[in-house]
Symmetry: C2
Subunit: 344 residues, 2 copies
Amino acid sequence: MADAVNRQVLLASRPDGAPTLESFRIHDAPMPEAGAGELLVRSLYLSLDPYMRGRMSDRASYADPVPIDGVMGGGSVGQVIAGSAPDIAIGDYVLGHGGWQEFFTAKPSHLRRLDPDMAPLSTALGVLGMPGMTAYCGLLQIGKPKAGDTLVVAAASGPVGGTVGQIGQIMDCRVVGLAGSDEKCAYVTSELGFDECLNHRRPDLKSALAAACPAGIDVYFENVGGHVWDAVYPLLNAFARVPVCGVISRYNANEAPPGPDRMPGLMTDVLIKRLAIRGFIVTDFQGLEGEFLRGMGAWVRDGRVRYREDIVDGIEQIPARMIGLLGGENFGKLLVRTSPDPTR
Amino acid sequence: MADAVNRQVLLASRPDGAPTLESFRIHDAPMPEAGAGELLVRSLYLSLDPYMRGRMSDRASYADPVPIDGVMGGGSVGQVIAGSAPDIAIGDYVLGHGGWQEFFTAKPSHLRRLDPDMAPLSTALGVLGMPGMTAYCGLLQIGKPKAGDTLVVAAASGPVGGTVGQIGQIMDCRVVGLAGSDEKCAYVTSELGFDECLNHRRPDLKSALAAACPAGIDVYFENVGGHVWDAVYPLLNAFARVPVCGVISRYNANEAPPGPDRMPGLMTDVLIKRLAIRGFIVTDFQGLEGEFLRGMGAWVRDGRVRYREDIVDGIEQIPARMIGLLGGENFGKLLVRTSPDPTR
């Protein structure tokens, strides 16, 4: 292993608008070595998520940007191959924040041991990881669904939206999804059990959504923005709750779109309809991780919450796939496998 | 009393933009008679409030519009002069929804007896009535102020804003007000004890507000909108709470202002800063009325919450004063006295 390299994906430049292949650079770094009290981890699965677009920009956000020529950050699942720690042994599988590279070192306190007998390892980056917890906390803590409510979910075939809608079904809501292709919509209704799913690219989206929500919308789980929000917004009922989890349609945007300026009208509607609009990120709810893992773990095991993965092999696939992710091309939780998973 | 008339203010036409004198009509109606189980009340104080602008329009809102040639609705305080009911006697003082007229009839269940020894009767329309409860519930239930927070209050010299800021002081917040004249600002700081108050008409509002809020803004109590919101919005801290109580700057507006369209950017900021923006009206919190009356009653009696009234005599004053209210001309809770108050 002395000659092994650690292949990484670096941020080569800050994207102006949508990232391009030139925004990233593949780099063969020397193998890292575990320092005192650290563990060396071989990555198996790297996570690609929409929020990462924010880390590529240096405008103010809830987290610091990735530096130019820095390794892109992100969650990853791997296997410990060197080092020692009280509760984690060599050979153990762990969830960490290794970023887009084949090997990484971490303190044991920054890793969580994974039991491959409880759930497939990759789910720690999906339905039983950040996206699943985002869905769970955002819907239950902010959306506060009640039986009989109409819940509308954007990006319904994605790892967050798909989970939101299934939790909504468990809560006895009418669940209407929005997704970016007819194929995705078919999956959302037939596999995930949503009551309806509409292709958000259809020209009659507004009237179709109104028809799918005859009693209006009580909870809208926002992770798209743009024309999807425009279709949802007039249908919101009095006292509707809008957890704002993402606005992927805006991540590549540099400028405000042309007028008229609808912000004052939105504030008026917030008043008249007593809307509750609240942004969140999953780490705001860190205290709920135990509850989430127990609850969602049970739902996944008994089949009440299903998930879909979109697994790509080879770290060099990342730039093109990340660009595609921001354009809505993936179908299911996007993971890049950098080494064979010994457990399946 | 057989020849007496009941002078009323009717809605003569729906205003297109700001109401004008022609929007209203003074009408001498015959004296109403209390039906079976009803009481006849002589009005003493009629309330004029910004929300009434909404009732003059027929666009969808949280309450039905006043019909053309109908009596404008609103809270009023009066004295029972005829009829009988188990818990209310002739001569008793009551709070009701009599609207803009000198006499009205009501069922006893729609009236609340007032004890003039506990507080001046007129306060039942102000600090101990709808505006006070709006302040109390909106700030505590949605704004959730914590000690050390910076609280910014729009329309700080008004009956809602002035009360919000004083509750914020009780909660150990830094309280910064915004008001429409230097005279109002002086009152807000010297009489109501706000830490600072800025004239929102000053040309350097944005920089002055930033200077007054060196640690950013944690709670913004919105009841103005427009350029005041524009100054506040960039200063909101992560996890800021925005109770939206009113948008008086928009009540006379017919069209969205010119672009760019800032709504998508607002949704992005909601996410990045995890803002919580929530509209409310006081009746959403009806269950808290007992708590409010006990708590606010104690604060008013011990002088921790002060208030100012702007009392005008004569029902015929209403049209001009209502127009002035929407333009920010009143100073304190605006009341129209239609008959001498026997208790002061």
